[in-house]
């Protein structure tokens, strides 16, 4: 309860400070709109459905790309961990491409796929997949070999060892890799939506972009607010339960 109160007070203070700065007219109201006007924008956008629609479009792209990224990244990571040849080839490629800021995929995707959903998807997949590959590989390499030996004496064999020993043993690494993959996918999708206008769907990134073009600062800030909220929500819903379970089971982080 006390923690919630702290959180509430902190944000109340933040908004009060913002309101105060607005009232003092340090800056033009075009650059610093009032909290109230941002709230009004969000309210209207929520009422006319444009906000919900944009959120839905963005989340659909994000989840589809993220899902594909994991489905590809996980097995590739397992393979690069298992075979030296693949580690030296695909693994190195993954390491290199993971270091590439995912925005850099946007020009390439545009030329390859044009202004289409495929371009969006491609950028998100590229943002996700390399992190997942590397995290899985690291996780598998860090599995205590004693676990595998113990499992073998208990009659565990190839596939069983991979599914019931190596995968669960590397879960802490895999989950943090998935989290990182999510963050990269999210960033790359926003970059793509801001840069690329496509007619098949208006995402949050587009709303942000048009906010700028129309000099509607309350829209820009309002959408940023929604983006932050979605990020927090994803963390709490998608990753927190996993991480809590891991900490509980493994006994890491007693907090």
């Amino acid at each position: 309860m006390k923690r919630y109160l702290t959180i509430f007070c902190f944000f109340a203070l933040l908004i009060t400070a913002w309101q105060w700065a607005y009232a003092q007219k340090f800056w033009s109201p075009v650059l610093v709109p009032s909290p109230e006007s941002v709230g009004r924008y969000l309210w209207e956008a929520a009422l006319d459905g444009s906000l919900a629609e944009a959120t839905l479009v963005t989340l659909k792209r994000l989840l589809a790309g993220y899902f594909i990224g994991i489905c590809v990244g996980l097995p590739v990571g397992l393979l690069t961990a298992r075979f030296r040849f693949l580690q030296d080839t695909l693994g190195l490629l993954a390491l290199g491409l993971q270091g590439l800021p995912s925005v850099c995929w946007v020009p390439l995707a545009l030329l390859w796929f044009g202004q289409t959903e495929a371009a969006m998807l491609f950028v998100v997949v590229m943002g996700t997949v390399w992190s997942v590959v590397l995290a899985t590989e690291t996780g598998v390499r860090n599995v205590n070999p004693l676990y595998v030996r113990a499992a073998r004496t208990m009659g565990s064999r190839w596939l069983h060892i991979w599914l019931y020993v190596i995968m669960p043993a590397s879960l802490p690494f895999i989950v943090s890799g998935m989290k990182q993959g999510w963050a990269f996918a999210w960033r790359s999708l926003m970059a793509a939506e801001i840069f690329v206008t496509i007619l098949t769907g208006f995402g949050l990134g587009h709303l942000l972009h048009y906010g700028r073009e129309l000099h509607a600062m309350e829209q820009v800030i309002g959408i940023m607010f929604v983006l932050v909220l979605l990020g927090l929500l994803a963390d709490k819903l998608l990753f927190s339960p996993w991480e809590k379970w891991l900490h509980h089971r493994w006994g890491t982080n007693k907090a």
Partner: protein, 268 residues
């Protein structure tokens, strides 16, 4: 298969290790871990393998477990050559090697899940039986990190016993524990051994531990690993590690160990 059969001890197996050699190639050359080692272990016998580190006693255990293959020679259990690991020969390690992603009973059930013909309820019941045997039934839903070192080794023992093996291979299982916990576990192990009567190969470098547990203590010498002497321990059980009789044997064995190491030092 019924739960009764599952928890009834099978006849222990006899082991025969015949002129086994094993070497490892490392960065610094070839290491002869075992050279022409022969050892016979009777059904239900408790044999301790004693020696300084690097004398190949753990290697021998791995060979009997089927985790590694000998270069030459043969390892047989009940007359059948050991070619791969099997549930009838279970192994315990210095670290508990329990799986942190499973709870206590989940760990004990791991091997049971690999046993065909057991229903879920039966596995559960068998796992509980073995946890009870090591005195940890109350902790069956605990996470592994919540257990103390001694409790972890007890769970590891329950896990090793659960598939109802006929041979138990123990690689310095108590070496990382404090003295008090260790003494408790000596008592537990002897009690369980009398009850289950499995054949046990127990690797240690602690002379008193070897004397208070084994029917026989086999002394290994290093570089290359060879058996240099055997001691039959004729003491009634349960034995107390602090008793005078144990100390008597331990003194003799320690003397032999020292003599061996001095000879080793003279001819490096």
């Amino acid at each position: 298969m019924t739960i009764q059969e599952e928890t009834t001890a099978l006849a222990p197996a006899k082991l025969a290790i015949d002129r086994v050699s094993k070497s490892f190639t490392t960065g610094r050359g070839t290491l002869q871990a075992l050279e022409q080692v022969s050892l016979k272990v009777a059904e239900g016998e408790f044999v301790c393998l004693l020696g300084p580190s690097g004398c190949g006693k753990s290697t021998l255990l791995n060979l009997v477990a089927g985790l590694e293959m000998p270069d030459t020679g043969s390892v047989t259990a009940d007359g059948r050559a050991v070619r791969h690991p099997g549930r009838e020969r279970m192994m315990m390690f210095q670290e508990s090697a329990l799986f942190p992603w499973l709870d206590t009973i989940g760990n004990v059930m791991f091997a049971l899940k690999l046993k065909p013909g057991l229903k879920r309820a039966e596995r559960h019941e068998a796992a509980r039986y073995y946890l009870k045997l090591v005195g940890l039934e109350k902790f069956m839903h605990s996470n592994i990190h919540e257990l103390s070192g001694g409790m972890k080794q007890r769970v590891a023992l329950a896990r090793a016993l659960a598939p109802n093996p006929r041979v138990l291979l123990m690689d310095e299982p108590f070496a990382a524990l404090d003295a008090m916990t260790r003494e408790q576990l000596y008592g537990d192990l002897q009690r369980i051994w009398e009850q289950r009567h499995v054949t046990i190969l127990f690797v240690t470098h602690n002379v008193r531990e070897a004397v208070s547990l084994g029917d026989r203590v086999v002394l290994f010498s290093p570089h290359p690993g060879r058996i240099c002497e055997e001691f039959k321990i004729n003491l009634p059980r349960p034995r107390d590690i602090n008793s005078v009789d144990v100390a008597g044997y331990a003194t003799r064995i320690t003397k032999a160990l020292k003599g061996m190491l001095q000879a080793e030092g003279a001819t490096p």
